[in-house]
Symmetry: C2
Subunit: 495 residues, 2 copies
């Protein structure tokens, strides 16, 4: 009986002599697999090593190595004088079919039992298509103008000087010189004085939203959210089970008076006062102060995404809500994704002193720390003034590209779209005629090699008009005319 | 009345001519601050620009610049023919005292209202002391033997080749060549064949624990946890509100039969089967299979931290639980913190196919993506065989250091501690005589320049004996003897 079974086993072991895996490993894996699958059950006697060696066409030494290894692992038992047996201590396994394809993790009858968060994240619609090199991609820096050689010098310099002393986990709050450099930058360029100890470095701005939502709101808590608003942040907060309270946008930014007057007990407001995404509005000073009053009166928090504050083409930026906060209700988020590049994955929080310990602990326990090499390089890059001068250079470049976009769009887009160009930022809205389907047009634009986000996707409430969001900062001069012409053709030729 | 107020204002504006901040910025910030603080109320008329210029000792142009800027921000109103006034649209602010020091965020009467998670994370005890260069620090690679120049070559090569096409957010699941390199490595060195699509790159192994806990368990769900077990993971899970069910360890690893027989409905088991931290036990094959049966029967999950599987000095490692899982219940976590260095912050998950979509979405929405530069460098480093050869070199080096430690400890520690040296890993336990206070001794050891973790800190239940956890892999030969002598002196001289 045992002979028959092991005979069956031998014919099933297939040796691939072209494989990188050593022979003994191949045999061992298949033998172990057969035991786990139940096709070799506990107590079965294996053929003698000499017989196995002949059948498999490998040296006896290889067979012995396999048997000893599986015995050491507990799969086999070698009984002196009577041979080698499949271990009887192995529980009887009913072979289970392992799903063979990578499923999207949608909830449903066949889905595995996971947490409430897990089922929400599993069901979230996340688009994984890479768009990095698409023309008119919103929020896209001018990668072609990035000072690679200079940046690399800082990466190398920091590496040489610092590897030996900085290979461990590092400070969960972030590399101290980087926090100092950011505090200096904020004081000089945003007129916002903060203590470097109020700063916590995060792996990108988005991670800061995640930590803030978890620390400041409970599942089911209301969260004021600008409508239309940023898609990925909305997706994150909804997946975390926070109740989004969509607030309309007007020329002064988030128009929250009517919403908060209802007294829904919202605990957090997520706002982009410098330049609201995607509409490009700036929140007025009066609104900023009113929002602070609301937060203060309701023990609520303001999560301020100081998005795009770096690139303003006319006038000076308004002070951040954080810098005029007298009562410690603002969690300020900055990122280097727009000013440098997203793959750097560095952002930061500026926190009210009472929240610093909590957020440091959250980073320390959730992530241990943020990668150090990039933090060290960036600290040097800022401290030596290169960040400020890169921003200045980009502001000038983007001002030129903005102007060129306006001129070219007036020519190509006449009668097809109206350009809504904000005073700051990296994107423009091309408003379409009423009744046009911006999602459909955006899809056709992509097919024509031009990227456009349909504005309709950003809103919980329908927008008054359809429109397309286009980025102008990453578009080199020679690409601009042909790109806008291609877009115009799509708009002209699609029903 | 207005004159008086503005007079008061003027004496309060202090100009620091040694500051890097421009004059107009200094004046503007103080003026804005006075308005926000309520010391200049809405409707107050400011002195004429000429008068202000004389009083402050700055040019009239500077004063005009300040007034125009604050008017643009909405703080002032310039009424043609009648002068400049503090805007009446500014809500009346009751000045609030901003907390002036960075508080640890402890909950209590004076603490701000945050979420349940926030209060737990705020109250967590997290130790931020950097220990990187302490002697005998557990889990510390031999940084002095790290191939810096070779690693830097990969960092540079990838940077040169790849910056331009890889500056955006990148694939949230991780850089595809790195996932392929990890899959190849696991197949060859862990006998674990997986599809690269089952792999999700994380910013370190710990982030993988965080995501897995959130996706697979709800707050209040039971989580089987080895006792004693890793401190930071315990702190994380407890802060996330998961109910830790502490399971004792014996020579076969986590001894969970009695616990699961109680039918507590636990949803997840966090295990370190290769080498349990801190006791250094390896989970037996029979236990691994039983744990799989439990997970399968209870629709529960196994979070397998394949900690320290790389460094085994005698015999071959047991197959990972994941590699013998026939029913897709194992979430496998690997990290490069031990094999390379922690500051790299790269780890990975190998997921059952049904969970891949959910975990990808979680990384995409919580973090957007993981920094690309380090992923690209590591992918090349692995693909070119340097990772495998570095591990081989370190395994040989650590075997030597392990042997040297045993010899030196036998000499220095006789009568003071007994060494419990596992077959694998980077740490050793020095068991102390009963009745000794390991926390107190560890504290004194640190004062003597030697790092030791008291074993008592790792357990929810008291351990049978006190002990100290010491790392031997990061200790260079010339440090070993003096270090153990220093430890012995502490043990001999402390009550």
């Amino acid at each position: 009986m045992a002979k028959r079974k092991s005979g069956a086993l031998l014919t099933r072991i297939v040796i691939d002599r072209s494989s990188r895996a050593p022979l003994f490993r191949q045999i061992e894996d298949q033998l172990r697999g057969a035991i786990l699958a139940g096709s070799l059950s506990g107590g079965t006697r294996l053929p003698a090593s000499r017989a196995l060696s002949v059948e498999l066409g490998v040296s006896r030494q290889t067979v012995v190595q396999v048997l000893e290894s599986l015995a050491a692992e507990g799969f086999l038992e070698m009984r002196r004088g009577s041979g080698t047996f499949v271990a009887t201590t192995i529980p009887q396994h009913v072979p289970q079919r392992v799903p063979s394809t990578v499923a999207p993790g949608m909830p449903g009858n066949a889905a595995p039992r996971v947490s409430l968060l897990g089922s929400r994240f599993g069901a979230a619609e996340v688009d994984f298509v890479s768009r990095e090199n698409r023309l008119f991609l919103p929020n896209s820096p001018a990668y072609d103008q990035f000072p690679f050689a200079l940046w690399q010098k800082y990466v190398n310099r920091q590496a040489r000087q610092a590897y030996r002393g900085n290979m461990g986990y590092g400070d969960p709050a972030g590399h101290a010189p980087l926090r100092q450099a950011i505090a200096d930058y904020l004081a000089l360029h945003r007129s916002d004085a903060c203590d470097p100890d109020q700063i916590v470095i995060t792996p990108g701005g988005h991670a800061a939203f995640m930590v803030a939502a978890l620390m400041l709101t409970d599942p089911g808590d209301g969260l004021l959210f600008e409508d239309p608003g940023p898609l990925i942040a909305r997706n994150l907060f909804e997946s975390l089970g926070r109740k989004l309270v969509h607030v309309p946008i007007d020329d002064e930014g988030m128009d929250f008076e009517a919403t908060v007057a209802r007294g829904g007990g919202e605990r957090l407001a997520f706002v982009m006062p410098s330049r609201q995404h995607p509409l490009g509005r700036t929140m007025s000073l009066a609104r900023r102060l009113r929002l602070l009053d609301w937060a203060n009166a309701n023990e609520a928090w303001i999560l301020e995404d100081d998005y795009d504050s770096e690139f303003r083409y006319t006038g000076r930026p308004l002070p951040s809500i954080r810098s005029i906060d007298r009562s410690g209700r603002v969690i300020y988020v900055g990122t280097f994704s727009k000013a440098l590049f997203p793959a750097l994955r560095l952002g930061y929080l500026v926190l009210p002193p009472a929240l610093v310990g909590m957020f440091r602990n959250a980073i320390a326990l959730m992530l241990r720390s943020v990668p150090l090499a990039a933090q060290m390089a960036l600290a040097g890059f800022i401290a030596d003034g290169h960040f400020a001068s890169h921003l200045r250079r980009m502001r000038e470049l983007y001002a030129e590209r903005r102007q060129a976009f306006l001129v070219a769009a007036a020519r190509s887009g006449a009668g097809l779209f109206e350009v809504d160009m904000p005073d700051s930022g990296m994107n423009v809205i091309a408003w379409l005629q009423e009744g046009r389907n911006d999602r459909d047009l955006a899809q056709r634009a992509v097919e024509a090699g031009v990227h456009a986000y349909p504005l309709g996707e950003y809103g919980a409430q329908p927008l008054p008009r359809p429109g397309l969001l286009l980025g102008f900062t990453g578009v080199a001069p020679h690409q601009l005319g042909p790109g806008l012409e291609a877009l115009a053709r799509v708009l002209a030729c699609t029903g």
